[in-house]
Subunit: 268 residues, 2 copies
C-alpha cells in the first residue's frame, strides 16, 4: 500500500487505529479452542468486529511462531483474510546481514502479503536496505520503544550530544524516504517525541504503548503532521476486552471508542 | 547444554567449529529437490558429514521462515535430528518487550530444543531477561557484528568514550553470567576484539564471518580463554562446498580441514 492510499484510508475512517494481533492461545475465549484453527477464528472475528474503526492490523509474529508450523499457517490465513484496504504490518523486529535480510523480505513481502515489517537498527544500513527495494512496501525501524529497557541503550548519550535513538533516526532516514520508511515511537515516551519530530517531521510513526502499557492518546496525537503521520496501536485492550463469548462485541466497543476519540483529534 | 558439557565437547573434538545451517532451497543440489523435505534431507546429510568435526550447529531461522509452515517443519525436524552432545543455536536475532520475549523463549527453548538463541540488544534489559530464566539455556547477544553496517551504530562513539558495542556488552554482562550468556563478535572485526575481551574475558564469543565473509581463523583464535571461549561459525563455505552429488563429502572435507587447523590453535 502506498502513502497516498494509507492517508486516504485514515481520512475516510477518521481513524489512525492499528489493531495489534498479539493473539495468545492461552488468552482466547474457551469456546474457540476446540475449533481446527482457533487462532485464525479469533483473528477473523476480531477483524470483522473492528474493521470499521481500524486502518491497520499488526500481527505480532512471536505469538504465531510459538505454535510452530500450525501457528505459521494461522498467520498466513490471517494475512490473506485482511481486506486490501487495510495496512498490514508484520511486527517481527528482524535485523540481520544482507543475504538474510533478503530472506526476511521474501517471507513477509512475497510469501505473505504484508505492507510493512518492523526492523531493529542495531546491524546498520545493509541490514535495512533489502526491505526498501520493494515498491509500495514499508520498513518500520525501531526508534524509541515503549518498554523500560529503552533507557538502557536507546537513550544513552552519544559523543555528538544526541541520544542513540536520535542518531539512529537521523542516519537511517537517508536510506529511504517518507513513502517507504516509518519509525516506532513508544507512547510512554512522548516527552521525547519533540526530538523525533525535529528529525523526521514528515514520516509516519507507529506508536505502541497506548492502552495496557499506559500511554495517553491525546498526548500522542499532538505529534500528527499534515498527512496525520501516526498509526497508534492497541493490542491487549482490544483483543482481551472480554474473555467470554462477547469478546468480539467488546473488542468492537473499545475500537469504536478509540476511533471516536481519534476522530476528535485528527487533523486530516 | 551447560558450560561444562560444552567445554568437554570442545576438548574431546579438539574443535570449536559451529556449522551454520543457512540452508537455501535455491542453492541445494538439484537431485535433492524432488524429495518430500529437501531442506531436511540436505541438513541431515550435512550433519552426518560434519558431526565428527563440529561442536555446534546454527540454523539461520530466516531461511526456514521464508518457506512458511513447511520451512518451519524442516527446522523442527533438523533440531530433533541433531544429537544431544552438540550445541544447538537458533540464529534468529530476536528482541522485543517482555511478554513477547517470553513467547520467543517458549518457541526456541520449549517448542524446539535449542540450547541458545541470538538476540539483538536495542530494546534493553527487559527484552533480554526472559531468555535467562531457563536452566542450561543460553542467550547470545549481538555485540559487534561482521557486516559493514556494524559501523553505523555499533561503532558510534558514546559520551563516555566507549563505542556503543562496548556499552552494550559492559551493561548486559550484569544481567547474566558466563554460563548463560555469550556475545556475537564478527571475525571481520578482530582489531576490536581486544576491547571485547577487556570487558568479557571469560565469556564465550560466537564468531561469524570466517570463510565467505573473509575473517581469518588464526587471528580470531588469539582470543581464546582458559575454556576456549570461542565458537567459530562457517556457513556457506561448508554447505555449498559443492553443488553436486558430492556436496556432503566436500562439506566434510572443509569441516575436517577447519577442525584440523583449530586443533593446532586450540588451548584446551
Amino acid at each position: 500500500m502506498n502513502k497516498k492510499s494509507l492517508v486516504e484510508q485514515i481520512r475516510v475512517k477518521q481513524s489512525y487505529l492499528c489493531v495489534g494481533l498479539d493473539t495468545d492461545i492461552q488468552k482466547i475465549p474457551a469456546h474457540l479452542r476446540h475449533l481446527p484453527d482457533p487462532i485464525f477464528e479469533f483473528n477473523k472475528q476480531i477483524i470483522d468486529a473492528t474493521i470499521d474503526y481500524a486502518v491497520a492490523y499488526k500481527p505480532n509474529i512471536a505469538f504465531y511462531e510459538s505454535l510452530g508450523a500450525k501457528g505459521w499457517e494461522s498467520l498466513a490465513r490471517t494475512v490473506e483474510y485482511l481486506p486490501k484496504n487495510v495496512f498490514k504490518i508484520a511486527d517481527a523486529k528482524r535485523g540481520d546481514i544482507g543475504n538474510t535480510a533478503q530472506m526476511y523480505a521474501k517471507t513477509f513481502f512475497e510469501y505473505m502479503d504484508f505492507d510493512a515489517l518492523t526492523v531493529a537498527p542495531y546491524m546498520g544500513r545493509d541490514s535495512v536496505e533489502p526491505f526498501l527495494q520493494y515498491p509500495d512496501k514499508w520498513l518500520i525501524l525501531l526508534g524509541l520503544t515503549s518498554n523500560s529497557g529503552s533507557q538502557d541503550f536507546q537513550q544513552t548519550e552519544q559523543k555528538n550530544g544526541e541520544m542513540l535513538f536520535e542518531t539512529v533516526i537521523r542516519k537511517s532516514k537517508e536510506w529511504g524516504n517518507t513513502g517507504n520508511m516509518m519509525y516506532v515511537a513508544g507512547a510512554t515516551q512522548t516527552v521525547l517525541f519533540e526530538k523525533i519530530r525535529k528529525i523526521v517531521p514528515d514520516h509516519f510513526l507507529l506508536v505502541p504503548g497506548v492502552g495496557a502499557q499506559g500511554g495517553d492518546l491525546a498526548e500522542v496525537s499532538r505529534f500528527q503532521h499534515a498527512d496525520c503521520g501516526l498509526l497508534v496501536n492497541l493490542s491487549r485492550s482490544i483483543l482481551y476486552a472480554s474473555d467470554d463469548k462477547d469478546f468480539a462485541q467488546k473488542a468492537r466497543q473499545v475500537a469504536k471508542e478509540t476511533a471516536e476519540e481519534m476522530g476528535k483529534l485528527i487533523l486530516v
